[in-house]
Each structure stands twice: as C-alpha cells, then as structure tokens.
C-alpha cells in the first residue's frame, strides 16, 4: 500500500508455534518449582452477606495443610484498578456468589479443597440487589464499600460519565423522525480455555509471581501496595496465557498466592477451576438505550447512547469505551454518551473484548437497520454508505485541549468487498424477504457496519532493544502473549524499523523486572498502534547508531547507508558493504554498546485511529425449534496495514466466532438470590467446530496517515459486529426484531409462538 515493507506485512510463522504444537510451551499451571504447595480459595455461597464467624481450626488440623488465610490475618488494605479501590485482600462482607472468603495452602490440591470445605463460616445474609434497577432503587442495600462510593452508582472517570457534543435535545427537536429502543445484553464470562492461575515465590524478601495477567504492571502496583514493598521487590511475569480476552488481570489471586507463600515459606500455585474462572470476571450485563433523531432523508441530527452497566460486586470496569460507537461510526450534528456503572451482587464486571462498545454496536446497528427499512432505503448498505463518518471528521476525543480528527475511515471498501463475498446482490430480495424458504426453515441475510478503537487515550508504552555481540538482538517489550501473536508482530516491527533480521530477534515480554513500564496493559487493541510505535522508535534508534558506526568504519556519511535483513548497503547499490554482525563483532574492542529506546502515549498523537468494519451473515432459522444456524459469515475490516496477515486473519476468525457464540448461545443466568444457574462448561455452551460456519475474513489495507506503518488493531473489532449482524439477518428471515442477546432457540421459539407462528 504505497510504502515498501520488508518484514511488516509478511505472514511469517509465529515464534511460539513450534513449542505450542509440541506441548513444550509453559503456562502458569505448568510450573512446578520444588516444594510447591497448592493454593485453594473458599468461596461464598451467598450473593450478599456478612461473615459473623469464621473458624479455620478444623482446616488447619487437616494433615497437609500449611497455612490458612481469612480477613483476620491478612493486611487490611483495599486495592483495585484505575482509580477505584474497592477490593479488600479478604472481605468481612461478601458481595457476590463466589466471592473469596478464605485461602488455604496445602500439599495437594485435593487436600486444599477438603480443607476449604472444613472452614466453617457463619453468614448473616443481607438484602441483595441483582439488577442495576434494584441497586439504584431507594432503600437499596449498599454494595460498594462506603469509602469507595456512597451509593451503588459508582461515580468517577472511566466508570460513570456523560459527555455531549453539541446538544442532543436540540437535535431531537429538529428531527423529522425520532427512534428509541432499549436493548439488554447478558453477563458474559470470558471463558478462556486456560483458567486463571498464579504462582508466587519469595526469595530473600523479594516476591516473584508468574500469573495469568494482561496487565503485569498494574498487578505489581497492587501487590507492592498491599505488601508494603517497593516495586523493586515485586516481580510480576506473565508467561504465555491460554487466552485472555480482556479478563485476565487484577482480582485477588496474586495477593492470596503471595500471602500464602509468605506464610509458608514455600512457592504456592493457586489455580482456578473452570467454575471459579467463570465467576472471576464478566462483560457486565447491560441495559443499553439508543435514541436517535434523523432528518426526512435519513441523516442523523442526534445520536444518544445510554448504558447502564450491572457492574458486579467489585469493579474492574473501564466504562468509557463505547463512546466511539456513538461518536465515530455515523455522522451526526449532535451526540451524547451516558454510561452508569452500578454495583450489583453479581460477579465483578470488567474489561472484555470489545468492552461496552459491544452493547453499543448491538443496539445502534440493530436500530439503524430498522431505521433504514422504515425510512425507505433499498437496503441497509445504502443507509450505512450515506451516513458513515469520513476521515478528518471530529472524533469527539480531545486531549491537551485539542480536538482529534478521525485518521481515516475505509468502511466503503469493507462494504463493497464484504457484500461481494456474501453474494449480497444475488441474495438480497428486500426487507423481510428471506433469501429462501424451505418448509419451516427460513434463510435470512443481514449486515452491520461497525467501529472499534485501536488504542485509547490511557494507553502508553515503551520498548528497549539491546544488540548482542553476535548481531542478534533482544526486544524488551511489556506486551503479553495471550494468543494474538504480539511477540511475533512486535519482532516484525523491530526488524522493519532497524534492519535486524527477524530471525535474529529474541522477544522478552511481560516481565516487570526487565521490560519497560506499561500501566495500561494489553487492552483496547492498542498493541498494533501504541506498542508498535514504541518498538518502531526503539528500532529506529538502534538503526541510527548502527549506521553511525558503519559510516565511521566505511568513511561515508551515515545518511548514505541503509540496513535491511542484517546487511548494510550504500543507498541505491545492490551489494552490501557490511553487516550488522560485522559491526557488532567489534564491540569487544571497547566501543559503546548499542541499545535502543522508544516510548509513546496515545494521548499525544494528533488524530485517533479506528478499525471500521462491515459484517455480513447468512443464517437459517428453523421456525419449528427456534434454532438459528449461521451458514456463512463475512467480516471485512479496515485494518490499515496488516502487521502479519495470517495473525490478523486469526483475530478476525476468532473475534467473529466468539461474537457469534455470545450472540446466540451465551450469558450467565442468575436466580433471585444472585446464584448463577449455568455455571459449568456443560451448561454454558460455547460454539464448537460444528456450530461454526464458513467465516471469510477480509483485510482492507488502505493505510493510515498516523499509525506506525499504517497499522491498526484487530484484537477486538471483529467481535462487536456480530450481535447486530445476526439480529438483522434473523429479522430478514422471520420478520422479528430482537432487543437482547443471547438469541437462544428458546427466545426465538417463544417470539414466534407469541405471533401465532
């Protein structure tokens, strides 16, 4: 795409593929240091209760039990993430079914679980609130710690906010049409294949934890605070994660493992069961209200998105993501985004792939489909083409007092190529005209546009490169590797920027003792943009030093030289004049070692980059059973420049299928006592190989004027288009619009029967 790239844009084999196919790759639970003990947590069966009495004597007496922790013998400190400090190390008052009340270290996991059962807890049940409405009602029980929040509405930045651009009241007033709908999305646990785990080990007053985290630095900060240590005495390492999807960070497990390890003087490995893992974190249940105003010919005068997030008993939520869905997909004269994070007696709400933009897209892009039909557009594609933003439009984001324009929007090409891949022209017969009907089976076609972030204002990072004497290099980067191929793509960026061969690069990642500080962690699809920029800067820094060294050796000006694939060339000449290895071999003669450094914050960048997309679905609805089968799914994304097309495709496949599974099959179900009723991987059903249709990923590489090599992130974007796209396809098949997810067979069946069908 214009630029000449040597390594970025190549589908090179991932660095970690070999060890993962041979079973050699080590995850946290694969580490068994000598004298290791197993940590097991005891959990509350009540959604809201005070611990009246807790007796650990029978547990302590069990042979093989080495330590037991309760609120009585742990630091009385609270910790949390991003400005909300609401989590005591162990509570006296539990706030959700599954809340930890005690922890045990034992010789085997089995002894640990038996010991946990032997801990006697007398609870005083408290009134509870399992919905946001109940939690906000007058007289509702206070779930939050009073010091954190005087009411269940959690105020403060990134949790509860209202931001308006222009005036939506004026926009609704001048509108010819006003539409308003409310959508409900269920609580979704991340369900990585690898449950959360943490191994803690002390050595001479210094703590090391290997933990399933996407945020080693925030976790270190919390550990240091609770343990009363300087950060230099706490080392957090995130090895390969078996999936994360936004959910792996924070929580108590590192604290408990560290304190058990301290109490016993031995390493402690705390591994969650699948059920514990399902209770650790969710994309919060939401009520999402979308209200829009339009002119007669279908241009937006106002777009309002209003989300109430059922935040759970503890808050690990970043709520402001979702703004981009409101401000940055469709052009409007006025916008408003309101988000309310409400404490509820449910598992903790937190970050999740797509965050609250998932519910926003679900609502806005189902509503826009309905609007397109009612205002007489021939197809939803026409409506999207008329109304999408353009590059240069105001993004609604502002930092340092400056407005930031949208760096580019290539959704038209996504729509065009995606429509071709699904066969839109041949299949679209009009609104509520199914593609085909075969007895009870009706085939529908659906479309959704989408937008998602590729970095956020809070994302900042750094990278360091060391060159070795043999010309190989270390890249020290805080990225975590949870499956998205970050260590490979960052090596590609370094190779591109520096000229070091990618096969000569060893990536050291996610280790607070050696990799630079990154307080935001692996969130917001920011690696392709923010971390790549830090890596690129470090690579350019190294290249500059190498060229200066070569120039001195060869007696030419540095600006006449270039490096690719490890070889140093005079520009314009074909034969290399030296190599990196040759230059570095001379270091031992007393020359200055070569290290490179890069650091950046997205908040200083002049524009804002987004991943735009167009999704298309062909579904079959069986009107006898309510079962929706996805036959074919196309996901086209405005990726800018693919760092590694095979890895990017992988994110499109994976994000889309995770989204399909969520839209049709997933969601925690709570009873009126706040107990989840489908808490097992048998009852909580993820899409399997047979559920999954043909998925066609399309990468639209139209570059970007601001980002490194024009790359944008793809980690989350494919997920947020699925819920609206499927609902729109179901509407085409059976003429029913749904305002919720998941759209299980039961729900579709009931809706059909309610219509007498």
């Amino acid at each position: 795409m214009g630029q000449k790239l040597n390594v970025v844009g190549q589908g090179i084999i991932r660095f970690d593929a070999d060890e993962k196919v041979t079973g050699k790759a080590r995850f946290v639970a694969d580490m068994y240091p000598p004298k290791m003990l197993y940590g097991v947590a005891k959990r509350s069966p009540y959604a809201h209760a005070r611990i009246k009495r807790i007796d650990t004597s029978r547990a302590e007496a069990l042979p093989g039990v080495r330590a037991v922790l309760t609120y009585k013998n742990v630091p009385r400190t609270r910790f949390g993430e991003v400005g909300v400090v609401d989590c005591p190390v162990l509570p006296e008052r539990v706030r959700f079914v599954g809340d930890e009340v005690a922890a045990v270290a034992a010789d085997t996991e089995e002894i640990g679980r038996r010991a946990a059962d032997l801990i006697e807890v007398e609870y005083e049940e408290l009134p509870l609130a399992v919905t946001a409405e109940a939690a906000l009602a007058p007289g509702a029980p206070l779930i939050a710690p009073p010091e954190t929040s005087p009411t269940n509405l959690l105020a403060g930045p990134l949790r509860t906010m209202s931001k308006e651009i222009g005036s939506v009241a004026a926009g609704f007033k001048e509108a010819d049409h006003v539409f308003e709908e409310t959508y409900h999305t269920a609580a979704i646990p991340h369900m990585p294949l690898e449950p959360r785990a943490c191994l803690a080990q002390w050595d001479n007053g210094k703590l090391t934890v290997w933990t399933t985290t996407q945020k080693p630095f925030p976790d270190r900060l919390n550990l240091a605070k609770v343990l009363g240590l300087p950060e230099t005495k706490v080392r957090v390492i995130a090895p390969y994660l078996g999936g994360g999807f936004g959910g792996k960070s924070g929580g108590r497990r590192a604290m408990l493992a560290a304190l058990l390890a301290k109490a016993t003087g031995r390493p402690v490995s705390l591994r969650f069961s699948k059920e514990e893992d399902m209770l650790a974190r969710t994309r919060p249940e939401t009520s999402t209200r979308i209200k829009v105003g339009l002119t007669r010919d279908g241009h937006f005068t106002a777009i309002e998105g209003d989300i109430t997030a059922y935040g759970g008993g503890y808050n690990w939520v970043l709520s402001t993501t979702g703004e981009e869905g409101v401000y940055c997909l469709f052009r409007s004269r006025n916008y408003r985004y309101n988000v309310r994070t409400v404490y509820t007696n449910q598992p903790p709400g937190g970050q999740f792939r797509g965050v609250l933009n998932g519910p926003i897209m679900c609502g806005l892009c189902r509503l826009s489909d309905r609007i397109a039909e009612e205002l007489g557009f021939a197809s939803p594609l026409d409506f999207a083409r008329q109304n999408h933003v353009r590059g240069g439009d105001d993004s609604g984001y502002e930092t340092l007092g400056r407005k930031r324009p949208i760096s580019g929007c290539h959704i038209e090409e996504c729509i065009e190529r995606g429509a071709k891949a699904i066969g839109w022209a041949e299949k679209w017969r009009g609104w509520q005209q199914p593609v085909a009907v075969d007895g009870p089976k009706r085939i529908g076609l659906g479309f959704s546009p989408l937008v998602h972030v590729s970095g956020m204002m809070v994302t900042a990072s750094a990278a360091v490169v060391h060159l070795n004497e043999d010309g190989t290099a270390y890249l020290f980067t805080p990225v975590t590797e949870m499956g998205q191929g970050t260590i490979t793509t960052q090596a590609q960026v370094l190779a591109e920027a520096s000229g070091i061969p990618v096969t000569d690069i060893q990536v050291v990642f996610a280790d607070t003792e050696s990799t630079p500080v990154d307080s935001s962690g692996q969130v917001a699809s920011s690696t392709a943009t923010v971390r790549s920029q830090a890596t690129k800067m470090a690579g350019e820094d190294v290249k500059k030093q190498l060229l200066e060294r070569a120039a001195a050796e060869l007696d030419v000006a540095a600006k006449e030289l270039d490096i690719t694939h490890g070889r140093i060339y005079l520009k314009g000449r074909k034969e290399p004049v030296s190599t990196i290895k040759t230059i570095m071999a001379k270091i031992s003669a007393g020359l200055v070692p070569i290290t490179g450094r890069g650091a950046t914050s997205y908040s200083t960048w002049p524009q804002v980059a987004f991943n735009y997309g167009a999704h298309f679905a062909l579904v079959e609805v069986d009107t006898e059973t309510g079962k929706v089968r996805v036959l074919k799914y196309v996901a086209a994304h405005d990726i800018g420049q693919s760092l590694n097309p095979v890895i990017v495709d992988g994110q499109i496949y994976g994000g889309a299928v995770m989204g399909l599974s969520i839209a049709l099959s997933e969601g925690l179900i709570f009873d009126d006592k706040g107990r989840p009723r489908n808490l097992s991987s048998a009852d909580y059903r993820l899409f399997s190989a047979e559920d999954t249709p043909e998925v066609i990923p399309i990468q639209v590489e139209s570059g970007d004027p601001m980002t490194p090599y024009g790359a944008k992130g793809q980690g989350e974007a494919a997920l947020v288009g699925t819920a609206p796209c499927l609902a729109n396809a179901i509407y085409n098949a059976i003429g029913i619009r749904f305002n919720e997810i998941p759209l299980t067979p039961e729900k579709v069946f009931k809706a059909l029967r309610a219509q007498g069908r």
């Binding site: 084999i13 993962k20 196919v21 694969d30 990585p192 994660l241 999936g243 995770m658 993820l686 190989a689």
Partner: protein, 157 residues
C-alpha cells in the same frame, strides 16, 4: 490407600504411586512432569486434556490412572518422533492455526485419532470428530484447514 502402578506413556514405562481416585490428567501433570496435556475444565466438557489410549482419543480428566495400567498412552509429548514433527503438527504451524495454544495438544491428538481411523475425512467429518475440542481463540477454520491438509500430506506418503 495408594497403589504402585506402572503407566506406559509414549513408549516409556513410568512407575508411579497413585490413589485409586486420581485422574490420569493429574498424574501426568502433577506427578510425571508431563505438562503438555492441559487441564481446562476437569469435567470432560472441553477436551483440552485429550490423550490417546491404545490409539483412541479419551479425556484424561475423566480417566482414572489405575484403569489404564498396561495400555499404550500417547500424550502430546509423544506425537513427534524426536525432532521430526508429525504432519499434523507441521500443518498447524504452516496454516497459522495456533493462537494461545491451550487447546492445541488435545486437538492434535483428537485429529490424529481421526486420521488414523479415517485417512480421508471430509470437512463436515473433521468438524464432527473435533466437535468436542472447544477453542475460544481461533474460530476453528484454521484447525479444520490444517487437519485436511495434513490428511492430504499423509495420503501422499
């Protein structure tokens, strides 16, 4: 009451002391250092723990260690022949199939059992056979593609 048994794993003999209710999965990981087999759900729902017992794929979390004495157990560590990868492993590398890698050992062994039983499966047959191997990362497309490619490669030998 612990029992002294010998397990035959990847062609080697492992004497080990086990409780009668210990699963093969826990014995492999916690006692024998064979951590390639993963614990995902410990309840037979995700198939991350799949091993081969006399060539048939089995969830090791639902298998008692004492019940497989004398049987030929194959774990992911035994799929390659020394440094030489099995065509399935090579295909998973070449097709960009691997993401987080946690489901991969179980998926590879299940796929091996499939191809040993049915050397030329169709795509629906591959999806059906692998239907128990849950993956949250890949969306399955590249898994299926790699298995079909490995079948073709193996067919040519």
């Amino acid at each position: 009451m612990p029992q002294e048994i010998t397990l035959k794993i990847n062609g080697q003999s492992y004497p080990v002391s086990v409780a009668p209710d210990e699963t093969l999965l826990d014995v492999l990981r916690d006692k024998l250092g064979l951590t390639g087999t993963k614990k995902g759900c410990d309840a037979g729902d995700c198939c991350a723990c799949t091993v081969l017992i006399d060539g048939a794929c089995v969830p090791s979390c639902l298998t008692l260690a004492v019940s497989v004495r004398g049987r030929e157990i194959t774990t992911i560590e035994g799929l390659a022949e020394g440094e030489k990868l099995h065509p399935l492993q090579q295909a998973f590398i070449d097709h960009g199939t691997v993401q987080c890698g946690f489901c991969i050992p179980g998926t590879l062994l299940t796929a091996k059992a499939l191809l040993d039983e049915n050397p030329h499966p169709t795509e629906p047959e591959v999806r059906h056979y692998l239907n128990g191997n849950i993956c949250r990362c890949t969306g399955y497309t590249k898994i299926v593609e790699a298995v079909l490619d490995a079948a073709a490669t193996m067919g040519k030998r």
